[in-house]
């Protein structure tokens, strides 16, 4: 991850100036090798490196601001953040336009994973903007009038002298598998800028504005014809994957054998920059979950070497004792069985980055149920088409046409599910609303009582996004939060790139009607047609997914004694969030139809590992 720390303060305030000076001094002492990339009245920015594979910097003209991370020009795909001076940057990003639009110009002309910090011409206002779909975090904390923005919590901890406390409400929400991804983090004193959000600091006060909101994009006029949707998806997918690839000489692709990672691989194989490619496929050993033949077909199609690695249920779970300190608990379901091998391959083949198909289900349109029917009604499409859409949904979901119609109409009448993933999973995803998994009834009730607190601001600003976009937006929240970060310190240097989490592709996906994504009963139908010539036949015709649940279940079974101690003596249990008896039950050999899915325990293992790092 690209690491930066920025301090912004009102330079008319002596208290703030003193605090800023002390903070900077402390920071220089703790991070002596870091470079000061911007120092103007009221603003100072430090970076670990001026340019690296994780990102770089670019000064705005006259040192009035700086771009941090990875920013590409929308016009020609040129990377701006290569430790360059203002004259270079100006050709793609006009400082005047940036000031006049209060940051919006950056969103209109750039994409990538960046943070831009700039000051107004008269230095009275200071702006911090996080790009849409940015994997680069922008956390924030304030002390004595000094606002600190940073990407890595440990860098903040190096200079923070005050107390940091756990946000138990958020932890409870996450343990309830509920919505928890808002500006809040797992630490009370730290909040976060969301994608497309801009903070304007005037004197000692600050105002937050969303310059970009995916809900609004979803409500823009839809792409009207299927061939247009196909052409747009193909063009933007190739554009984003190949632009990301242009930064690296050698790439390791996590090739699951599914449609999404196969599309990413096909785009990489045809990239003009011709990166050296290696693929890795993980298959479950000793339990179901083997997609090797799909991965082999795809690797053979693009003539890339494929490394097949068994994911053993006997993998070492002690990595949870060395979780990385992140702002929120990071979850990476199969991480313990995967990162060691990925790390080894990256070293062996000197790969600069690891690409995967993360977020593909979202951007390529995986309907959870009959929401394409609701989407058609929402977009006021012609009624005779409704039966065809219901038929397509019915074929895909193995339900009857009448059931698809009924569900679609019901979702339209009660659209509360369009406000977040918890409501979505209960109303559309088929989750039992009464199910409490491994948490106590008190914890679940407490979460429900304050669930409104965790409705994301994107959903608050717009009454109801187009129904088929809800899953995309919920997925984006996950992808741009800490959830995709590497949770373990040992593997923290792995440079993962999720090319499908890209602003231009996302804007196309949000405007594709749900009906196109289920056309003729195929899921991700638009992407399938768009890449039909680039994919192996069996991958193209594949409709099912291999679940990682058997591997997780087997891993839990094999480590039951260790997990019993880890969870039952842990902080979640002490706080009354984890239901001890349910955990005991899941870790026993008893067969029960009522027990929660053991795989759900993994969420709690990650949260517990994270808590231990902060509480010890």
């Amino acid at each position: 991850m690209f690491r930066y720390v920025a301090a912004l303060w009102n330079y008319d305030s002596s208290t703030a100036c003193d605090t800023a000076a002390a903070t900077e001094l402390a920071f220089r002492k703790r991070r002596p090798n870091w470079s000061c990339v911007l120092s103007i009245p009221g603003t100072v920015v430090y970076c670990e490196r001026l340019h690296s594979r994780e990102g770089g910097t670019a000064l705005l003209p006259d040192q009035r601001g700086i771009l941090l991370g990875i920013a590409f020009s929308r016009r020609d795909g040129r990377e701006l953040t290569r430790n360059v001076r203002g004259a270079y940057t100006e050709s793609a990003l006009s400082y005047d336009a940036l000031c006049n639009t209060r940051g919006r110009h950056a969103i209109e002309t750039l994409w990538g994973s960046f943070v831009v910090i700039f000051v107004s011409r008269d230095h009275s206002r200071r702006y911090v903007l996080r790009s849409p779909a940015a994997a680069l975090p922008c956390f924030h904390s304030q002390h004595n009038g000094v606002h600190i923005f940073f990407s890595e919590v440990n860098d903040f901890c190096a200079i923070h002298t005050g107390r940091l406390s756990i946000n138990w409400s958020l932890i409870r929400a996450q343990a309830a598998l509920g919505d928890h991804l808002t500006r809040e983090t797992g630490i009370v004193e730290i909040d976060s800028l969301e994608g497309g959000e801009c903070v304007a600091q005037i004197d000692s006060g600050a105002t937050h504005t969303f310059l970009w909101n995916p809900c609004k994009v979803a409500n823009e006029p839809a792409i009207e014809s299927f061939p247009d949707a196909v052409a747009s998806i193909r063009h933007e997918t190739q554009n984003v994957v190949q632009t990301w690839a242009s930064r690296y000489e050698s790439v390791l692709v996590e090739l699951s054998g599914g449609l999404d990672s196969s599309i990413v691989l096909s785009c990489l194989a045809s990239a003009r920059s011709r990166p050296r490619l290696h693929c890795v496929n993980f298959y479950a050993a000793g339990c179901p979950g083997d997609e090797r033949h799909f991965a082999r077909s795809m690797a053979a199609k693009v003539r890339a070497p494929l490394h097949e690695v068994p994911r053993l249920p006997t993998c070492e779970l002690s990595v949870f004792l060395h979780c990385h300190r992140t702002a929120r608990p990071a979850l990476n379901f199969t991480g313990p069985g995967r990162f060691a091998a990925v790390s080894e391959l990256v070293d062996k083949y000197e790969c600069d980055a690891v690409f995967d198909g993360e977020f593909g289900d979202n951007v390529f349109g995986w309907a959870a149920s009959a929401e394409p029917v609701s989407d058609h009604l929402y977009r006021r499409g012609p009624l005779p088409r409704l039966l065809t859409i219901a038929r397509d949904v019915a074929r895909m979901k193995r339900i009857s046409i009448w059931c698809a119609l009924t569900r679609g109409i019901r979702y339209s009448l009660f659209p509360s599910w369009t406000k977040g993933s918890f409501a979505f999973m209960n109303a559309v995803g088929g989750r039992d609303p009464g199910a409490r998994g491994f948490i106590t009834q008190e914890a679940l009730d407490a979460y429900r009582h304050e669930s409104e607190r965790y409705v994301h601001s994107w959903f608050r600003e717009v009454a109801m996004p187009a129904p088929s976009s809800v899953l995309i937006i919920c997925g984006l929240l996950l992808a741009t939060s800490t959830e995709l970060h590497i949770p373990f310190s040992e593997f923290n240097t792995l440079n993962y790139v999720h090319p499908l989490v890209s602003h231009p592709l996302l804007e196309i996906a949000l405007r594709i009607p749900g009906a196109f994504s289920v056309r003729s009963g195929w899921n991700r139908a638009v992407a399938r047609v768009a890449f039909s010539n680039d994919l192996a036949t069996d991958v193209l015709q594949r409709t099912c997914k291999t679940s990682t649940t058997p591997w997780v279940t087997e891993t839990i079974r094999q480590h039951a004694p260790w997990l019993r101690e880890f969870l039952l003596d842990g902080a979640l249990a002490r706080q009354g969030i984890l239901d001890r008896s349910r955990v005991e039950d899941a870790l026993s050999d008893r067969v029960s139809p009522d027990a929660p899915t053991p795989a759900e325990l993994f969420y709690h293992i990650y949260i517990e590992g994270w808590l231990r790092q902060w509480l010890t």
């Binding site: 009963g521 058997p550 067969v591």
Partner: protein, 252 residues
């Protein structure tokens, strides 16, 4: 599902060989065992203690270590478990006439509908009639919980001739499955009704003289059951990855 070991204990002589009752099918999954009572369509969990007793004493147990003529002596707690199961009618002392097996052919390939495939009107009409007939028949039998009689009626082709019949070509299977899946959506929801759907599909395929077999599989932690249709090693209208998550308990 209930716990089989909680039944009343009744004294038995323990030297005799034991067999699973004719209507009972068993599978071991992840160190636990599950019993399927085909008459009541109920599943029963077997605890670890009873499992070792069953392995040691039941001759036709899936992973039996029992001698055909019984054992001379077993522990008191194991004996109690066996008594309890016998009292419930789950075990018998004579070898029962078993209609179906608990072993099938491992799934290797799958056959999915190809939605853009077209069929002739006469072929469509034939499938429609067969699907309607199978649907109504299955519904009547399922409502009365008469799964065993239904299976006896529609499964013989699979169980007796499956190994001798020449399996149809993949193209033929794909055509039939596509046609079936296209028409099915007008009648019923197959999701979460895998047994019902499999029985209808089995009945339809039987009418086309396809040697199809129905498999019921179970998984533990948490317990779940699934039914699917196979023609030889080819899973019909389901995925190999999915069915591999289940251990077969009954193959008809």
């Amino acid at each position: 599902m209930s716990d089989a070991s909680s039944a009343q204990v009744r004294p038995q002589s323990h030297g005799d060989a034991r067999y699973l009752a004719a209507h009972l099918y068993a599978a071991e999954v992840n160190g636990a065992a599950v019993l399927l009572d085909l008459l009541s369509l109920q599943y029963y969990a077997v605890d670890a203690q009873s499992l070792s007793a069953l392995r040691a004493n039941v001759v036709d147990w899936p992973c039996s270590r029992a001698a055909p003529h019984g054992r001379d002596s077993i522990g008191a707690s194991a004996a109690s478990s066996l008594d309890s199961l016998t009292a419930k009618g789950f075990l018998s002392s004579s070898r029962p006439e078993r209609l179906f097996s608990h072993r099938g052919t491992a799934a290797i390939t799958a056959c999915h509908p190809v939605w853009d495939m077209r069929a002739s009107p006469s072929e469509t009409l034939r499938m429609l009639c067969r699907l309607l007939s199978a649907y109504v028949t299955t519904m009547v039998y399922i409502r009365r919980k008469h799964v065993a009689p239904l299976l006896t009626r529609i499964a013989p082709l699979g169980s007796i001739y499956a190994d001798q019949c020449v399996a149809p070509s993949k193209e033929r299977l794909v055509t039939l499955v596509t046609l079936y899946a296209k028409l099915r959506v007008w009648f019923y929801t197959a999701k979460h009704r895998c047994l019902f759907d499999s029985l209808v599909l089995l009945a339809v395929l039987q009418k086309y003289a396809i040697p199809a077999r129905l498999t019921i599989g179970v998984s533990s932690r948490p317990f779940s059951a699934h039914a699917w249709i196979q023609v030889s090693d080819c899973v019909i209208d389901d995925s190999v990855e999915h069915v591999r998550e289940y251990t077969p308990i009954l193959v008809a």
